[in-house]
């Protein structure tokens, strides 16, 4: 049941699993919903889709799939199924007022009407609209939908006929949530987690069971021993390139940044533009007023800090190699000198580049920086981050 729908979802790159699909069938078996297409839509969504970002893609697939089902004409159903007279009579009493029933009787009664209906269904092969004899929509014949004949039999028209209103899934209210990301933030965080270094710091707070037992056994009297709590002791400095050509990479960098600030408690970040010079800043809105001296930063943070540069390394080569080459101000010393000072201070360093790796060789400045960083440059992809964590955790990586 609905197997092709399941595969359509798979084809649309929506991560659905067999288990979830079985859940849906199970829910249908358990009659969680009545026979209502909207409820069916909600049920499939709650069973199969686990992220509001995917709702929009799901809506599209659902709409496409169920359009093809809607196209089955009522006439096809009527002519393939022999509907018992009793059943239709019952429907009659529900749909018509007494006054209307009386008027139907004036036309020869319900049996005659039904007989004519069946006869006409047999004669009529195509879909029909308008006119005054054939069954279809908007006509004046007694049979069909949206008609003007009070003695007519209404076919396929319900108070809640879904064609009238825009269907729920056609509204596509979740469009804003879909941002088909290449990687999600979670996988970044998991990748960055490899950088954690566990160490026991702070005051003795945790009960050390091993030590307590051995000491108690030795002395014959209970002697509670405590130890320091285990904490993630990794310290990270993040230098982020902002502005100019970095604007097109902002989303990726934001993700990396939010992942990093979630994983590391001891994280300090600074902004620079294009290349590192004598001044950096902490708040990008106030970059001109609140500059920090790069010297001070280098002196403040010890060698144990891991140093991560994030930037596209795309600039004029002069900005790196000659004094006064910077494009925003006059720098007394070339950027290269500052970069080398930084990586001498923090021997565990990496440059993360959001530009796709195969384009690196076409940019001279990228190659210069890669050279300064002794090839420690990785792309801003999941693989790249993974590689970066390996480099940063091996003290003597070359």
């Amino acid at each position: 049941m609905f197997l092709d729908f399941f595969f359509k979802l798979k084809n649309a790159k929506i991560p659905v699993s067999l288990n979830e699909f079985l859940n849906l069938l199970n829910a249908l078996d358990n009659q969680v919903i009545s026979y209502d297409v909207n409820e069916f839509y909600y049920l499939t969504r709650t069973c199969l889709i686990k992220d509001e970002k995917l709702f929009d893609r799901f809506d599209l697939v659902f709409g496409e799939y169920f359009k093809s089902i809607e196209r089955i004409e009522l006439e096809d159903v009527m002519s393939s199924v022999d509907i018992p007279d009793d059943w239709i009579k019952q429907m009659f009493n529900r749909y018509f007022t007494e006054d209307e029933i009386n008027r139907i009787k004036s036309q020869g009664g319900i049996e005659k009407l039904l007989k004519t209906l069946k006869q006409r269904l047999k004669d009529q092969k195509k879909r029909h609209q308008g006119g005054n004899k054939w069954i279809g929509t908007s006509g004046t014949s007694p049979f069909g939908a949206y008609g003007y004949n009070p003695e007519g039999i209404r076919i396929g028209q319900d108070k809640r006929r879904h064609g009238k209103a825009i269907k729920v899934w056609d509204k596509r209210i979740f469009r804003d949530f879909d941002n088909t990301k290449e990687f999600n933030n979670r996988s970044f965080k998991v990748a960055l987690k490899k950088l954690r270094q566990w160490a026991r710091t702070g005051i003795n707070q945790e009960l050390d069971i091993e030590e307590t037992i051995s000491d108690t056994a030795k002395n014959g009297i209970l002697n509670i021993k405590t130890k320091k709590e285990r904490e993630n002791s990794i310290k990270v400095l993040l230098f982020l390139d902002v502005g100019g050509s970095m604007d097109s990479h902002i989303e990726q960098v934001e993700q990396l940044f939010s992942a990093a600030s979630n994983v590391f408690k001891n994280l300090h970040y600074f902004y620079f533009h294009n290349c590192l010079y004598e001044g950096i800043w902490k708040n990008n809105n106030r970059r001109w007023n609140e500059r920090l001296s790069t010297y001070d930063v280098i002196r403040t943070y010890g060698k144990e800090f891991k140093c991560i540069f994030v930037g596209d390394a795309t600039m004029s080569p002069y900005e790196i190699v000659i004094p006064g080459g910077g494009n925003e101000h006059f720098n007394d010393e070339p950027g290269r000198v500052w970069l080398e000072r930084a990586i001498t201070q923090w021997p565990s360093y990496i440059w993360i580049n959001p530009v796709i790796e195969k384009y690196w060789e076409y940019s001279e400045s990228t190659m210069i920086i890669k050279d300064i960083f002794k090839n420690r440059m990785v792309p801003l992809t999941l693989d790249g981050i993974d590689k970066a964590t390996k480099i940063l955790t091996q003290p003597n990586f070359n």
């Binding site: 709650t46 686990k50 509001e52 709702f55 999600n184």
Partner: protein
């Protein structure tokens, strides 16, 4: 057992289907949505309308999955043994956690795991087995605890961390959307049945106007709307009092709606710009 909202809680059609599916198939329901759209309230209302006991487990950044099952008090046991008591029954050193509590109730219960995204990124993975089979093993006593009645489990998340795939696969999922004006009207009427029609309409109109201003840091949501209208009623304001002039684009008592300085500044700028146009 079927949930269809209650007299204090308006449940939209899609929410009702999701809740009933999770009750019928006895699987956890994960609820996400903007802050203040009634995620936590949902669990309480389900318990209320089905007349079940509710057990709330609020997650903090230091919460471990194990704490939901049980905690073993090794120190007390050590102390007692030092005092020369013979320990026959170690079960008294085992403290029940919230999940265990919900497994042991005499009737079906509702277990709310609130703000699961606050915990460590691996937290949901540590609960897979327990939520799937509704049983767990106590190492200290070697006993297996099985649920008498599988509780209705509602899990809320504020999207601070993404949840692992394996965990998501075991849940039903619902995203509580910010209500449309009709639904919000119903919600307000449920809370303040005596509110004057004219005040309600003006307030709702103003509220949605504020929500739709682009660039807001924190859009006001259902709970803010309710707080604001409550204030309006307490102060006994009229729909006329809510009319804004060019000088003051924000309605009275907007402190209940906008809780961010930058957002209020944004409105001041807008007012300034509209005055310039005049």
């Amino acid at each position: 057992m079927e949930f269809s909202g209650s007299k204090n809680y308006i449940s939209t059609n899609d929410l009702t289907v999701a809740v009933n599916a999770s009750i019928a198939l006895e699987k956890p329901l994960l609820v996400k949505g903007e802050p203040g759209t009634g995620k936590t309230e949902l669990a309480r209302q389900i318990a209320n309308s089905l007349k079940l006991e509710i057990i709330e487990w609020s997650i903090k950044s230091t919460t471990k999955a194990q704490q939901g099952l049980y905690e073993y008090d090794a120190v007390s046991r050590l102390r007692d043994s030092q005092l020369g008591e013979e320990i026959k029954d170690i079960t008294k050193y085992i403290k029940k956690g919230k999940i265990w509590e919900s497994f042991e109730t005499t009737k079906k219960s509702v277990l709310l795991i609130d703000e699961i995204d606050k915990a460590d990124i691996e937290f949901p993975n540590d609960l897979l087995q327990e939520l799937d089979k509704m049983e767990f093993y106590i190492y200290e006593t070697g006993k297996v605890i099985k649920a008498n009645h599988r509780p209705i489990i509602i899990i809320t998340s504020n999207n601070e961390k993404e949840l692992p795939e394996a965990f998501l696969r075991r849940c039903f999922f619902h995203y509580i959307q910010f209500p449309e004006i009709d639904t919000l009207r119903k919600i307000v009427e449920v809370h303040f049945p005596d509110i004057k029609k004219s005040l309600l309409e003006t307030a709702l109109k103003k509220f949605f106007q504020i929500r739709e201003v682009p660039g807001l840091k924190k859009k006001p949501s259902t709970s803010e709307a309710l707080d604001w209208i409550k204030l309006l009623l307490v102060e006994d304001l009229d729909s006329k009092d809510l009319k804004s002039d060019g000088k003051n684009i924000l309605p009275k008592l907007h402190g209940a709606l906008l809780k961010n300085e930058q957002d209020i500044q944004l409105f001041e700028q807008l007012a300034f710009m509209s005055r310039k146009e005049d």
